[in-house]
């Protein structure tokens, strides 16, 4: 266990993620040295931004509550033991549809949840950036689709996303940097269904290598993606932005849990208080960026309340913690005549975004995509037991059909609602800090959306040859809680992630999303981080930091 409890990135060196047992140099700052940026969190938001800011010449210290893994030697092909990748500190989950937290929507470690994400790398439908004015629901983003399109391309190249030459939906884009992967049988089930119903499908654009890249090998289709890639094919933040950030002089502090942000007498952010190696330490910084995702970001802002800001930092709008969105992640499952063996290859190898780009025939606002699936045994037995209520002999009989099962699972948009939110609970965590209380209920529109998806996916699976079809409800991904916007009254930060209340306090993660969209969020979070990094460099050049 010691490997997980003792910081590795110390004394001028950090783990070399590309080689077993190896180290690489890392620039280190002392706590008393005032760095340009202290970043809390190293996932899709914080890790990406750390790279961009360091490459722009800023001094950067990025802290993560979890360990700095070397996947080649630390990740086993074993669901049970890889539980170590999730954020499993105490949290309370309530509302009418309480979210299952942990596996599906969190990460604790350098690289954040991208270490175990499904690598699905999708752009937003362009209209979603103006969904209020263009489509009539949700809220507008303060950034334009045209600008985001450029940043999407930057991220896809940074991750060497493998995808089709021509992606069937949305405005034209260049071909993906790496060729698409061969679609497995589970994905071909989706293809059959889509073709039978007359809608388009595509190999899913995935951030896992289809050809060698530097020290990393192509994907070997081992299928354990959601518990961490042990062959380094997955282009997580840990393998992409973090090594670049280190090359550019950033310091990464692993196992560093930030407890609080402290302000100076003028009401500007001055330092972060953090726990590392059994000590409570402080890091001075000219700017502080919170990048802890949709639960930990508002929690830290609340836990940093002070006499000047009794309701938490950056919260004059009262919107911190509100408008939490989880995407509907309902699935249909069915038994195929053929052997499918869906444990092989990345789980979601085929996709259709038909219902993201088609507005006709919908009785709801928003969109959804759906993908093929390949759950590992523990994930699967949890679906079978919770979705069907099976146990005893009936459970074992159902599980024995494992290699014949196929499924389609949606990623569906949910509407922002102020009733869905993160607040503080009475309970405290291992550091004595109040934990997050998460409240989530599907709204009427959300329900119409997933009912539509279940109906359509059920038809598609049946048309593909699926029998004994049943469905399961669920959620995945988080967004919202620190909305970005154009005005201090209606948002927490501006388009640059900069707090309206505290000018040297920034937010850079999925909590910025005004709407969730109907695609997995990681590509958009990274694109936003690239944009924020460029904006900060520009503001610095103009002396406006």
């Amino acid at each position: 266990m010691s490997e997980e409890r003792e910081p590795r990135a110390t004394d001028g060196r950090a783990p070399d993620v590309f080689h077993r047992g190896a180290w690489r140099p890392m620039r280190c700052y002392s706590d008393s040295e005032e760095v340009d940026f202290a970043i809390v969190g190293t996932g899709a938001g914080g890790g990406t931004l750390a790279c961009k800011l360091a490459e722009a010449g800023f001094s950067v210290v990025a802290l993560d509550a979890g360990p700095f893994w070397r996947p080649l030697e630390d990740f086993a092909s074993d669901e049970e033991s890889q539980h170590k990748l999730y954020w499993t500190d105490k949290r309370v989950s309530g509302g009418d549809n309480p979210l299952e937290l942990g596996r599906n929507n969190s990460g604790k470690g350098v690289g954040g949840s991208t270490v175990h994400f499904t690598m699905v790398s999708l752009r937003f439908r362009p209209e979603w950036f103006k969904s209020r004015s263009a489509l009539g629901y949700g809220a507008d983003w303060p950034v334009s689709a045209e600008e985001m399109w450029r940043y999407y391309a930057e991220v896809e190249d940074a991750l060497k996303v493998a995808g089709p030459v021509r992606y069937p939906w949305g405005p034209p884009r260049g071909r993906y940097p790496y060729r698409a992967h061969e679609v497995n049988a589970a994905g071909l089930v989706l293809a059959r269904g889509a073709e039978a119903l007359g809608i388009k499908w595509a190999p899913t654009p995935l951030a896992t290598l289809s050809a060698p890249r530097g020290d990393a090998h192509p994907c070997v289709y081992r299928g354990f993606c959601v518990i961490g890639c042990s062959t380094n094919a997955k282009q997580s933040v840990l393998l992409t932005w973090i090594p670049r950030a280190l090359d550019a002089g950033a310091e990464i502090r692993d196992l560093a849990m930030v407890a609080r942000i402290e302000l100076d007498g003028a009401g500007r952010a001055r330092e972060v208080l953090y726990h590392r190696d059994g000590q409570l330490r402080r890091q001075r910084a000219k700017n502080i960026v919170v990048a802890g995702y949709a639960i930990e970001t508002p929690r830290l802002l609340f836990n940093s309340a002070c006499p000047r800001f009794p309701h938490g930092l950056a919260n004059s709008s009262g919107l911190v913690g509100k408008n939490l969105m989880a995407q509907s992640n309902h699935a249909v499952w069915g038994v195929m005549e053929e052997e499918v063996r869906w444990y092989k290859g990345p789980p979601p190898m085929a996709i259709t975004e038909h219902w993201n780009y088609t507005d006709e025939g919908k009785d709801f606002a928003g969109g959804y995509c759906y993908m093929s699936q390949g759950p590992l045994p523990i994930e699967w037995v949890e679906s079978v037991t919770s979705g069907r209520g099976l146990w005893g002999a009936a459970l074992k009989e159902e599980m024995a059909k494992y290699i014949h099962y196929a499924g389609l699972k949606m990623v569906g948009e949910t509407m922002p609602s102020e009733d869905n939110r993160v607040t503080l609970a009475e309970e405290r965590d291992q550091y004595g800090l109040p934990v997050a209380h998460v409240t989530f209920s599907f709204g009427d529109n959300d329900k119409r959306l997933y009912q539509h998806a279940l109906g359509h996916m059920g038809e598609a699976l049946a048309a593909a040859g699926g029998r004994e079809i049943w469905h399961e409800s669920g959620t995945a991904h988080l967004a919202g809680t620190c909305r970005m916007g154009d005005a201090p009254e209606t948002s927490v930060v501006n388009a640059d992630g900069r707090s309206w209340d505290i000018p040297n306090l920034w937010i850079c993660d999925g909590s910025l999303f005004p709407t969730s969209g109907g695609v997995n969020p990681s590509l958009t979070i990274q694109a936003l981080a690239c944009r924020i990094g460029d904006r900060i460099r520009e503001l610095g050049r103009r002396g406006e930091l």
């Binding site: 086993a76 954020w87 309530g94 309480p98 299952e100 092989k344 002999a393 009989e397």
Partner: protein, 201 residues
């Protein structure tokens, strides 16, 4: 359709092949050879958990060839290894298990006049079905929603242990650990020579 079977397939045969890396050998070996001792549950609770596990995941064959369930559930509780949250209407994991076992036992006594472990298996199933459906009478369920406890705690923790075991992987034809060697044949009705062969009996 009839459930497929995989006679002769054993994922452990791949232990010393390129399908298993060192760290995987370490964690699976430990699971197979270092069954944790009882630390959290009382002996009575432990016995009851064993009886419940037999109903949730029935196993045939001699006792020493079965997947041990209670030791690993107890280990999780002793380590307080949380899922990452508790439902607002549920106590935390340890308390849920303590109170849930006591409530199931009380339910058995109320309904069938005997502690759970003394009931016939069919009767034990009756008790578990009542709990699953939330049709309970014991006052011990106060503050512990029975259906929620059954689904998100009791069944989940038990099946998680069972399906983390190579025996369970063999039963369902799962390829088991695969790193650095993954798979080559991905299409319908295709499998590599190091995968389970499905045979119609």
């Amino acid at each position: 359709m009839r459930a497929p079977r995989f006679p002769g397939y054993n994922v452990l045969d791949k232990r010393d092949t390129p399908s298993w890396n060192e760290q995987t050998r370490r964690v699976v070996d430990k699971r197979l050879h270092e069954v944790p001792p009882r630390r959290f549950l009382t002996p009575e609770e432990w016995t009851m958990l064993e009886a419940i596990s037999d109903r949730i995941v029935p196993q045939s064959g001699p006792a020493n060839e079965r997947v041990p369930i209670a030791p690993f559930v107890d280990h999780k509780l002793a380590e307080d290894r949380s899922d990452g949250f508790r439902y607002a209407d549920m106590p935390d994991m340890r308390e849920a298990w303590r109170r849930g076992l006591a409530a199931i036992d009380d339910e058995s006594r109320l309904r069938f006049g005997a502690p759970f472990v003394e009931l016939m298996p069919g009767r034990q199933d009756d008790v578990l079905h009542l709990v699953q459906r939330g049709e309970v009478r014991s006052p011990r369920w106060q503050g512990l929603p029975p259906s929620q406890f059954f689904k998100s705690r009791l069944v989940k923790d038990i099946v998680n242990v069972y399906y983390a075991h190579p025996k369970a992987w063999n039963e369902i034809g799962f390829g088991g650990p695969a790193s650095p060697r993954g798979y080559v044949r991905l299409g319908f009705d295709r499998h590599d020579s190091w995968e389970a062969e499905e045979r119609d009996e």
